[in-house]
Amino acid sequence: MQIDYKETVLDNGLRVLVHKDDTTSMVAFNLIYDVGSKDENPEKTGFAHLFEHLMFSGSKHVKDFDMELDRVGGSNNAFTNNDFTNYYILIPKDSLEVAFRIESDRMSDLTINQKKLDIQKGVVIEEFKERCLNQPYGDSDLLVRPLSYKVHPYAWSTIGKSVEQIESVSLKDVREFYATYYKPDNAILTVAGPVEAEEIFEMSRKWFGHIPRGNRPPRRLPVEPQQKEARRESVTRDVPANALYKTYHMGERLSDDFYVFDLVSDILSNGESSRFYTRLVKEKKLFNSVNAYVSGDIEAGLFLVSGFLEEGVAFETAEKAVDEEIARLVQEDIPEMELQKVKNKVEAALLYSNMKAMDKAMNLGYFALMGDASVLNREDAKYRAIQAGDMQEAVARCLRQENSNTLYYKASGNAGPACIMEEEE
């Protein structure tokens, strides 16, 4: 897999990357701002995401982004995570300039007022409930993060710590945030589709060239100190079954750790032939389902295990079984076949995740944000180079009790369904 691209930087600091893809008639337009929930004030978490909603409120020359784009068959959406905020538009080639016009106006002349802020607070609070607060196990991320991080801002979820913090946001906060982070030198534009690099560079200069640079303060995030002893916590909730969550600190996204632990997690839980599934779910019947994965954050992240226990299985028994599977990775050889298997799975997954123009635009932007877009083209080679010994070294170094955080998410014991279905008129 090779994704070719050309790159330039405008005088005002906006980075522009272009990938030519003639297999589609649609153009993917992706704009990343280098600001995420890790940049928030700990007393006003959830703010970056709320702000992303406000970015759809209209701007000086574009009253309604959705409507403008709908009119030309385009669509736009966005997401926020701990590391960055990503706005994307998919639009027919003939109308591409509309995307430039809209995003340029949004970067320079956003309209915000109290009414729009209040409505979007309502929408975001409903989103908070729909995703986290009103779903069984939906608050697990809200619990696991502060257990795992004591000083680093990964301690909170992108959605925020609480509804109250979202409610506390003022119009002044919104204006300051916009003025600080929504600047060309804090953004990366990636365009993929049936386009020529030079025409995109030219359009970028035309629509973004006049926007002055910003002055964002350098990011100085507190460094999470090396964890010295295991942390444990228990909560009880009205859910039908016990769940176990375990996290371990590991390296950052671009470090070898990420690739190694991604493969480790695949050995443990990717597919019906994985170790967790065959031994812990099918053979020993300790878990109903159990997964291992990496958080994939840009800065030092987590290796996570989450599992839903079978009825009647003690937490200690289930946790011990997970620990044993982790220990086996180090104590026993990892068969060459198994290593090949997870590498083949990763290769296929990389092909899938870079099939469409939009995937490629987003991925190029993401790697550019981390410093070098070309790393995207070296991912498969990085995975391929990993040896069993690398995995064992990393597991022994990181997947230790002293480096672990464990959450017992206990069912309140009310085993019946939360609602009795009675149909009344």
């Binding site: 709908d70 669509s75 729909e130 607060l133 039908p240 839903f308 296929a348 609602c419 279905m421």
Partner: protein, 419 residues
């Protein structure tokens, strides 16, 4: 902005036994997607969960492999298997890198044609499904979904039936073998192949699946439509103590997708709740902030399609939301849509459509829908023709004809008391 419908037309050939093989070749990608669609949905089952389990357990033990040995092989080649049981059809999709397709094909044959269904595998499946059942009983959207279908069709109808706690004890592996033998036969099968493959692969598919030795009875010939007991105008409220949000579902049976009425109804649906800038989204999300999202859509059930509005809303605003939905519907019935909004709707619809079908695998995925409704790309062409020729007056008249609030079935789950 018109869609090139030829892209949606596969090259069609028939295997020796008559199974249609639809192909969407694309040499730009290094992947292959192979889908087997069977007329084996829950509509045809004799026992609750029989169809779902038969589909999910395809390949978990076959005549020549244990579940473990087979999944080791499939995983080794980096392939993925997805199983999609639904109400009318069930399908299984194999995706892999082109260079391993030769190796994966014989395994597909094992999964599709030689599954054996073991009690221990069924036991694992039922453990998982039972857990899902218990978790779903705490999700407002799932509780309302169950109540909606059961209210709409009646609990005796195949589309209205809902799983109960005791059903998990009744299903046996023998039930699955029976269903598999009857439904997973050549007459009930369509195959869709997309991506980077060769003529030799098509030949290999014919060798593996073109035989006369897995013949049976076409499903929808045997079971025709069953009469549902629709309960027009019913309202059901399922309380869920302490819920922060309520799920609201409002819907009704809708005309056949092949009928002349359908493209007209589709326009009304689209204006009301079919896209991000729809009237329901603008009113209930963007003006009032009662929800994260609200939409309307058609569920294409073969024998009786359903139309529905659904949303998760602030629990204490449930009645307000239902009232606002009513107002929006009345407005569509009362007032003609402006030319400006109609223009917006036309472009938004075409944009959505073109984006959804941007890619060879996306085109191939549509074949399942086409085999479901028994019509090809002309279905979409007709929708588009109507969308671009319809007048505001015709839309208003259609709203009057189709959106009769007295016919709606309304279900809520988790609404604050005082409903």
């Amino acid at each position: 902005m018109r869609f090139d419908y030829d892209k949606l037309r596969p090259r069609t050939r028939r295997l020796a036994n008559g199974i249609p093989l639809y192909t969407f070749p694309d040499s730009h990608i290094d992947l292959v997607r192979l889908e087997f669609i069977f007329e084996a949905g829950s509509y045809y089952q004799q026992k609750i969960m029989q169809a779902g389990a038969s589909c999910y357990l395809l390949g978990t033990g076959t005549e020549h492999y244990t579940a473990q040995a087979l999944s080791e092989k499939i995983d080794y080649f980096g392939a993925y298997v997805e199983r999609y049981p639904d109400r009318d059809q069930a399908s299984i999709v194999f995706s892999c890198m082109s260079r391993y397709f030769d190796r994966i094909l014989p395994l597909c044959e094992e999964v599709v044609r030689h599954s054996v269904y073991l009690e221990e595998e069924l036991d694992t499946y039922l453990r998982k499904e039972h857990r899902r059942f218990l978790v779903n009983a705490r999700k407002v959207s799932e509780v309302s979904r169950r109540a909606f279908y059961s209210t709409m069709f009646g609990p005796e109808h195949p589309y209205g039936v809902v799983v109960q706690e005791e059903d998990f004890k009744k299903l046996e592996a023998a039930d699955l073998r029976k269903f598999y033998k009857k439904q997973y036969v050549a007459e009930n099968c369509s195959i869709v192949l997309a991506g980077n493959f060769t003529e030799a692969h098509c030949k290999a598919l014919d060798d593996a699946f073109g035989g006369k030795d897995w013949s049976g009875e076409r499903a929808d010939k045997e079971h025709g439509p069953q009469t549902p007991s629709f309960s027009a105008g019913r309202r059901v409220d399922v309380p869920m103590e302490g819920s922060l949000q309520a799920s609201v579902r409002i819907g009704m049976p809708v005309c056949d997708l092949k009928s002349e009425d359908f493209p007209v109804f589709k326009v009304v649906d689209y204006v009301l709740g079919g896209y991000f800038g729809s009237r329901l989204m603008r009113n209930i999300r963007e003006e009032k902030g009662y929800t994260y999202g609200i939409s309307s859509y058609v569920i294409p059930l073969r024998f009786q399609p359903v139309w529905m509005i659904s949303s998760e809303v602030k629990a204490d605003s449930t009645e307000l939301v239902i009232a606002e939905i009513g107002k929006e519907i009345d407005k569509l019935r009362r007032k003609e849509i402006s030319e400006d909004e109609l223009d917006l709707v036309r472009h938004a619809y075409m944009g959505d459509f073109m984006r959804e079908l941007d890619g060879t695998f996306e085109l191939a995925e549509r074949m399942k829908f086409f085999t479901l409704i028994g019509q090809g790309p002309e279905f979409y062409e007709r929708n588009e023709d109507v969308l671009f020729s319809i007048t505001p007056e015709q839309i208003r008249d259609a709203a009057r004809r189709f959106l009769d609030r007295a016919e709606f079935c309304t279900v809520t789950a988790g609404a604050s008391s005082g409903v």
